[in-house]
Amino acid sequence: MHYSSLVLLLAWQDIRGRYRRSAIGPFWLTISMGVMIASIGFVFGQIFSTPMDEYLPFLASGIILWAFITGTINEGCTGFIDAEGIIKQLPIPLFVHILRVLWRNVLILAHNILMLPLVLLVMGKGLSFVALWAIPGLLLVVLCLSWVALLFATLCARYRDLPQIIASVLQVSFYLTPIIWMPSMLPDRVGVVFLGLNPFYHLLELIRSPLLGQVPSLTSWVVVAAIALFGWLFTLFVFSRLHKRVAYWL
């Protein structure tokens, strides 16, 4: 239990380290996210000629959540590699390093999400009570991301090409997932493949649709819950076999 304070401390230290000596510190995260939303929103809003009050909240929530998901996965890949110094000196449970990555990215998300109320306000939209569904959604998504991070951290410690491969896959997924474009823009037949079979779509939907005033579909709940459950079972199976090797791979 006393490792929880270590996790909080290390994660907070990571964020502070990045922005030390800068006047507004981690709020640079919020600002750069705002700039990105505004510029992509302006360009693609014109191209797709969708009404801004519909497009911009969709884009803002999508991009912010995507940054959280990919940030966690990418940093999860190097979760053990980056902690080499600690892992080779102190017998701290390895999951501490994964929790550090998760919590660091939750903190970043907390800064980025500040852009959303602003966008909603400018577009004259409000948040309804439906938005509260985003909380269980986020928890379930974090549960998924935690096994992904643990599994990838373990495998990437051994196979150092994996982080690059995973980063490219995530890059491609950004365009295959409805973030910049909206599901309604797809022809029906294509939609089944791009949405139904895309795990990222369901992860996003669980948080994004309540923020935009809609209860997520039961399908998304079931898919994400299944990813969490089977993912954890598989990861525990792999990790229980490999965790003693991690220190040797670093």
Partner: protein
């Protein structure tokens, strides 16, 4: 009660980026370092420790001697729980702490005070325990107002004082060290020695790797001599030092 038991324990470390072809025809037994081998899938492995069997109990003050690469640091890592033995068994009873790298985890951009919490948490201290010890740590370090300055502004001596002051708060049952910690100028050194002596006194088992005969003769009551990852000699300081430090 603390105890350590090694039963034919060994450690083989895989090296994935070694060019195995260039090694294949070469003599494997080399002057320093562990033995280089190939595992069943053709990877190069370093056999850092091989077939170690010994027992340590309360009151043991063990010195580890041996040439560079003889396996001292690897053995300390196994003792700390960082490396699980790849062969045989290691049974550890008691809380272990290592003073091998006292600067580990110190963030140069953070203040001395922040670093006390950071380093303390890494050593397994709770926030409450750190808070209770905060004043005495700061007082001991004699850093004064510098405790609220970023560590990058410290001289290397001040840096070590801070690391030392935090790291010696712990009172583990089994203490691991790589050489004696000696820090600071004359005045501080004296104080640090007393602190170290007290720490060593309070632990049940001490394992210290050292190249210093004087140190081992002074604090140890048993010495393990490692060579190529195996125990060459295990006995009293007089006996082993007599043979090792010719």
């Amino acid at each position: 009660m603390a105890s350590i038991q090694f039963i034919q324990a060994g450690v083989e470390i895989p090296i994935f980026n070694a060019n195995s072809r260039s090694l294949k025809n070469r003599l494997m037994q080399i002057a320093t370092g562990g033995t280089l081998l190939f595992d069943h899938s053709g990877h190069v492995v370093v056999r850092a420790l091989h077939d170690l069997s010994f027992q340590l109990a309360d009151g043991d003050r063990v010195g580890l001697v041996g040439h560079n690469g003889a396996g001292k640091s690897t053995l300390l890592r196994v003792l700390s729980g960082v490396y699980a033995p790849t062969h045989g068994q290691v049974l550890l009873q008691g809380q272990v702490a290592s003073l091998i790298d006292v600067s580990l985890g110190i963030d140069h951009e953070a203040t001395g005070r922040e670093n006390i919490f950071l380093r303390g948490a890494l050593l397994g201290l709770s926030k409450k325990q750190i808070q209770e010890n905060l004043d005495s740590i700061i007082a001991f370090s004699e850093l004064g107002d510098f405790i609220n300055m970023p560590v990058r502004t410290y001289s290397s001596g001040m840096h070590l004082r801070l690391a030392f002051s935090i790291s010696t708060v712990i009172r583990p049952e089994i203490l691991l060290m790589d050489e004696w910690l000696s820090v600071g100028d004359e005045g501080f050194k004296h104080k640090a020695e007393a602190q170290m002596a007290e720490l060593v006194e309070s632990t049940k088992i001490l394992v210290i790797a050292s190249h210093s005969r004087d140190l081992i003769m002074k604090i140890c009551n048993r010495v393990l001599w490692l060579e190529h990852g195996m125990i060459k000699m295990d006995g009293s300081p007089d006996e082993v030092c007599g043979a090792y430090f010719l």
